[in-house]
Symmetry: C2
Amino acid sequence: MTESYWIDESLKRKTVQDFIEKAKKLYPVLIHKYKNPVSYTEQRAKEEWLSTKEYLSGATWIELKKDDRVIYDFGHHTVGYITLDFDSKGSPQDAPAFLHIKFGERRNELFEDSANHEGWLSKSWIQEEWYHIDELPLLLNMQRRYAFQYLMIEVIDVSKKYRLVVKDVRCDAVSAVDTKLIQPLETKDELLRKIDEVSIRTLANCMQTFFEDGPKRDRRLWLGDLYLQALTDYSTFQDYGMVKRCLYLFAGLTAENGMMGANVFAEPKFVVDDTFFFDYSLLFVYTLADYAQITGDLETVQELWPSAYRQIELAREKFNDQKLFIEDSQPCFIDWKDGLSKQTSAQAIFIEALIRAAEIVDLLKTQGQVLIAESAEMLRREADLYKESAMQYLWSDTDQLFYSGSQKQISYASQVWMILAGVVKGESARRLIRHCIEVNPDMNMVTPYMNHYFVEALIKCGEKELAMEHIKKYWGGMIEKSADTFWELYNPDDPEETPYGSSMVNSYCHAWSCTPTYFLRGAISDII
Amino acid sequence: MTESYWIDESLKRKTVQDFIEKAKKLYPVLIHKYKNPVSYTEQRAKEEWLSTKEYLSGATWIELKKDDRVIYDFGHHTVGYITLDFDSKGSPQDAPAFLHIKFGERRNELFEDSANHEGWLSKSWIQEEWYHIDELPLLLNMQRRYAFQYLMIEVIDVSKKYRLVVKDVRCDAVSAVDTKLIQPLETKDELLRKIDEVSIRTLANCMQTFFEDGPKRDRRLWLGDLYLQALTDYSTFQDYGMVKRCLYLFAGLTAENGMMGANVFAEPKFVVDDTFFFDYSLLFVYTLADYAQITGDLETVQELWPSAYRQIELAREKFNDQKLFIEDSQPCFIDWKDGLSKQTSAQAIFIEALIRAAEIVDLLKTQGQVLIAESAEMLRREADLYKESAMQYLWSDTDQLFYSGSQKQISYASQVWMILAGVVKGESARRLIRHCIEVNPDMNMVTPYMNHYFVEALIKCGEKELAMEHIKKYWGGMIEKSADTFWELYNPDDPEETPYGSSMVNSYCHAWSCTPTYFLRGAISDII
């Protein structure tokens, strides 16, 4: 996989302090839940693993010598802070205890040797620590936050004179929301119930002081993820404040010309990254339009409208006189798929941004808000021009599919986005998506993020059954592989696929994967 | 080398609370000195090391990327707490910084891979840490105390988007004493001046809240080390309070029968180890006798006398009816030399303990202290009986040397201790030590601890020139190998020798090595 990162150290940034202050005021109160492991498994001196036993808080004391290991299973994917209650047994502690503590969102992460990770993504994301404990007993409050279901303590060395005792393991689990408040999906289909539950847990564990893309990695606010998280939040937790906070952060932290970053940093200080994706910036318009419709909070929408519209203005510059997106004029995310041409998807995403912008303008006008310079009608007419260009330059009558780029590449993404933008509609759209599935282009979809749009497109074409089938196959496939939260990456044909050179740094609780519940509780709730 | 450790988990301990309270009141005020490195050396991406540069506090900022390393040299062996002032440069910090920080008393320790240490002594002593830094800038106050001259920071990973910046490195160096208060030895002999300086630094860096054996390892109060540290302290820092504190700790923390441990733990709580050496327990008598003569603090000596005498009572039980030490009746340290028979040394150490005990009794009587049950005369007469036994059963007329054990082993240790105990005296002693050097037994000496007694024996025989020669050769040999403090182990024929399976866990600032200054400023000061 190609290395994918962008650096612009000379980037000039702009901060709208008023927006930042508003975002700060929306800092959420995190919900803390104390959790113990549900079970544990011991291994002596790197020999066979013993049988798994139930964990009883206060009664499960584990004695470890050199090369002994114990794995604690917390039952579910958890985000939080760990406290370990250590003591010693035997002769006085005549040497430090030297421990390796490793966390895994999945169990097999525990056994991967981080020294072997040579991908381009930093191995600093691997969740493991080493501790020297000079004096026992010690209540060790680990300072960093971890995302995990499994925790392994490995004694690299104590001394021959004493054993390390683990008297208790507990986690201060944190999230901005409480999954207990969401009723389980009413269905007799166990797989669907599970898909829904896992979706919700995925979203909840990503909802911290802002919408994180993943609580293991990158723990950052990305616009593409935000768009899908907000959608899913509306049909579950309805934490509108967090969406608003994130909208203000993106609008408050931009490049000097007002372009929104693909992501912003919230810790240790607010700063926009020097990565700019054509599609992600425009997704701000989508997210604001949804927010307007769901919340009716038009005061906020009014205030953020100029920032949203600025993304459209900047995007226009990436098109040629034929109103065609200029290939590679700006990085565009779309999907992790290597070699994917982004041109056609970008064209469609811009068209839909114009349409969503028009919706916002309509809403603001309807509600008697201050008049804004842009007319909804003009935006829609503009969208039509770009649609015509798409049909003229990107549609292939021969293949009955959209091409993308100078290589006339056929991909799922191009068809999906053209349908979502309404460039083809109704029966034509239905024919297109079915034809695409039939052709099954090599340029397939690799992320749950892109798969979300595929499902959305199926529904838009009226293919709810196919949408349901795809959800069961794709997200259900992760469940079959024991997912307790949905993953950043999932390729049914290659479950260990990673864009990072090694799956050790993959995120197995990733926001952009959380949308099945949005579909199951929304557009396809009638066919459950 | 044989594994050497003792475990007795069933040991019953006795604490004399009054003694512990007295020891607590003598807790020293540590002297803190802020130190910066004097120079640093960088390495990029594991390529060649760049040239060493002067370190300028506040002006030496080092930027590091993945696989870069920097070594800071503090100029001298230092004991203390490190603060690292970190920042980042480049794009926003999009991944944690993952660092390996390693300390070396000697430079080559930095390059030894701790994974390769498979000796019996815990690898937890290797001074290294791993840190994940989630948010930069960070002022990292490392919590543990280190003993080092060199500090290496190795960036295992950052990300491709930013560099780690080390803006400052400083050490809060600690010791109970200030070496600046000791005048350098007056001599034109540069080697002797250096030996004296290094002796004093070795002692100072071991003087913390008590006399540690080594500030890297074990950081503990051992009786054998205390004896030599107190001797050296009297001719340099004259910190009598610390000696007194340590005497109370040994007397206050014993086995149920009153036997003193080979070492005691002071942190996190006071406790005697379950290791008991025949020779070390008796060295309490030697140490108390020295303390009495040097300080004249007979009140303390009076109070501690019963504890000291108890060691003699317990030692008597290890002799047979012929007043001969029963081979292997109790572990005895003497030296690390593999296969060394301890019988003859133990015999001599007991004899000398009786003589030193008699000195204490004399002093207490002279000073009009409360009468004590034991008479000095009786103790001396008893010593003579054991001397006679030594001559009868351990002396070889054929070899004109002392044997030891059933294998009639000839060793340096046996001759040295018999001389120190005055079993042979005057011209006979002189002949014996010269004959021993001539024979040069295979059972030689491996620790500076044993070499100290050899020098002491030479001086006792009137061989000051040989004593000086040996100091220059043995401790001077470490200086030649760049020692900035004297080592725990030094075998001129095998400088990397270790009793621990790997020299990574050797201590290169070790109290029992600090005595040359005691000789140079004392018994042989006239021949400098």
